[in-house]
Symmetry: C2
Subunit: 265 residues, 2 copies
């Protein structure tokens, strides 16, 4: 089943396909117009510090929904969905180390788990594309380039660390428009955190991303940096929780939220 066949599928129908094992590939391009989300599951005793970290760092950690303790249903963003089955692939971390990739969480779910759904850059990339702003990583069919920076997140409780950013080269005459458009979507990383000179934020070789793939920066293009959803995962893993669970990169949770309902204006 190819992505373009399900671009117009409803999120509920798509999640059923996933739950029944009929969709096992990345979710890019599915259910067009609907927000996809990053998943982070941690035990309750870490949840206050993480929620506070997210409140203090809304650009890298834009919270779409926090599920109730032990509850696998995202009642606000995807009623009747089940976070344990409705993502095509999960990653299990023990003591901060990736130990397993699995297709559902039935053997892993704990009563003390709190699931966080965090906004994903797919939403603002879609808005940029609609405005005629090219997205190089999509053109080159690559993962976006991501870098660890010298921008420190605001600490909260046990959590602290540097911000990870994604970079997209934008033609210089479209940079202002890219700022305007992404500013409309604070719950999916929002406005850029930096424009231009990568050295200013501690990136000394733009051709060597810390995560993802390098992309071409053409003459006349400016590197524009957005806070990245890898940040919260990286931050949580530094405290080496006994167990933490995330989606596998590219295998996202599809919510019932239209991207446009996330726009602040």
């Amino acid at each position: 089943m190819e992505g373009n066949h399900v671009s117009t599928t409803s999120p509920a129908v798509f999640r059923t396909l996933v739950r029944e094992g009929k969709w096992t590939i990345p979710t890019s391009g599915v259910c067009e117009g609907y927000a996809q989300a990053n998943l982070l599951v941690i035990p309750k005793h870490l949840a206050y510090d993480f929620l506070l970290f997210a409140q203090r760092n809304p650009k890298p950690c834009p919270v779409l929904e926090v599920l109730d303790v032990g509850d696998p249903e995202p009642k606000l963003t995807a009623p009747a969905a089940d976070i344990r089955t409705d993502i095509p692939q999960y990653r299990i971390y023990r003591q901060g180390t990736l130990v397993e990739e699995v297709l559902d969480l039935h053997n892993y779910w704990q009563k003390d788990f709190v699931a966080f759904l965090l906004g994903c850059s797919f939403s603002f990339e879609s808005a940029l594309l609609k405005a005629g702003i090219p997205i190089r990583n999509i053109e080159e069919r690559k993962n976006v380039s991501m870098y660890t920076t010298t921008l420190e997140c605001v600490p909260a409780g046990i959590f602290h660390g540097p911000m990870v950013v994604s970079m997209r080269p934008i033609p210089s005459d479209l940079v202002v428009r890219a700022v305007q458009i992404s500013s409309r979507f604070p719950s999916v990383h929002g406005a850029p955190v930096h424009i231009g000179d990568p050295d200013q934020i501690g990136i000394h070789d733009i051709t060597q991303p810390d995560f993802g793939d390098p992309v071409e920066i053409k003459p006349g293009e400016i590197p524009v940096f957005w806070a990245c959803g890898v940040t919260p995962q990286a931050i949580v893993m530094t405290v080496k929780p006994d167990i933490a669970i995330t989606h596998a990169p590219g295998y996202m949770f599809v919510t019932n939220l239209l991207n446009e309902t996330l726009a602040v204006f």
Copy 2:
């Protein structure tokens, strides 16, 4: 000392006046351009549920800062300030009942306290006034009219209840502009939650506010309703915590944040 003498005082200097007992009246009009904040102090065991409630209800509960457990210093919004002394008047609630009004918290502070600073409507009222939009409660030197509605907040943990709204009559040709301007300030209640017919949100007699004072609605004016900072206090008090502390109405905490830095665009 009159308010207009300190309209240009810096927040740090103003807070020192308060701390030294030299400012004992409401804070309306002081430190023009700087955001003032509502205070809510609760014990740590209630803090996760309240922070989650705020995340799910950002319009009535816009969080400017959550202080660290037991820490009286708002390190992000007012470094070196002391939340126990820098507000002119506080209210002490025991089991949800107001038992005392005090001038500082030295005899009340607990190691397990978490202080929440929440956005205040002064910030968006200031922006509306600058755009030539009249604010009736300011013209009439009254408290804003507030109403309990049939709009239910999204529950979180032990917290649930109705949204309280404030109402400002706006000339019909300025309603759109009022929406646009307040939309820029999501961290101080943001866009209205309702425009027009009060019955739609369960307000059956607009002349009888549940809190604050009634104001005149002139011919050609539309009642416009914003989520109100009374909501979180009312919600918290329904669970009758052993102790909770707030500012006294009108006696706010003055932060170092310029209102304009709170604007999303």
